[in-house]
Symmetry: C2
Subunit: 136 residues, 2 copies
């Protein structure tokens, strides 16, 4: 993992202790955490951090292009540090979200859609992860 401090500075963010603590966790996680989960994970290492700071920090990271905010689950927004284009699979049983590499699925004819200026798109899949239990 790269030094969180320099990553923040490269994006024009003052690297305070709280921001670095949030970055250390959220920039390398794969678990697509909600804001409150981020709070809990960070509190384990920095117990004095407040909820409002975590929310503010996450919004700042999204604004500065360090994170994506995803509205896939019904209950809450989750965060994804993978900024390269990719798709998402949502496990309907557990709610777990998995990244699907961009080149595993192709989307065709999307350029020919009239009347829409498309800035971004992705395929959202829902179903059940196979082998999630029996295979380690």
């Amino acid at each position: 993992m790269r030094n969180s401090v320099s990553v923040l500075q490269e994006h024009g963010i003052q690297p305070s202790a709280q921001r670095v603590a949030v970055a250390d966790y959220v920039l390398q996680t794969l678990e697509h955490p909600s804001a409150d989960l981020v709070w809990n994970r960070v509190k384990a290492r920095v117990p004095y951090i407040s909820r409002a700071t975590v929310y503010n920090t996450l919004n700042l990271f999204v604004e500065k292009g360090l994170l994506q905010a995803l509205a896939l689950a019904e209950d809450s927004v989750v965060f994804d540090p993978k900024m390269a284009r990719h798709h998402h699979f949502v496990d309907e049983e557990s709610g777990t979200i998995h990244d699907v590499p961009w080149d595993k699925v192709q989307v065709c004819n999307i350029e020919s859609l009239k009347g829409f200026e498309i800035h971004d798109y992705q395929v959202v899949m829902r179903g059940i992860r196979k082998g999630a239990r029996r295979k380690a």
Copy 2:
């Protein structure tokens, strides 16, 4: 969608006055309303309906296959009476959601994904609607 009463009955739902009032609006709308918007729309015609009833009714409709619940916007779940497969375009300025016909866009190789049992999928696009001189 003229006779809401028969539609409800065909899906095994007792057609109470409140349920018919909700159905009359939500089964023919294109505006992808949130639950609270449904409440306001229906209240305009049936002022005595309660919020809990609208929420219960919407969930019942989803359960019985009359509606889809979509988690596309960041703030709340919205409902869509179009049950045929289709894609969605989200206007980043207004938050408006537009349906995109299934055959306008093709998704390839999705069947060959290993490790996932895919029950459903769609393409979610974000951008700006062209030629829409909005500001409702």
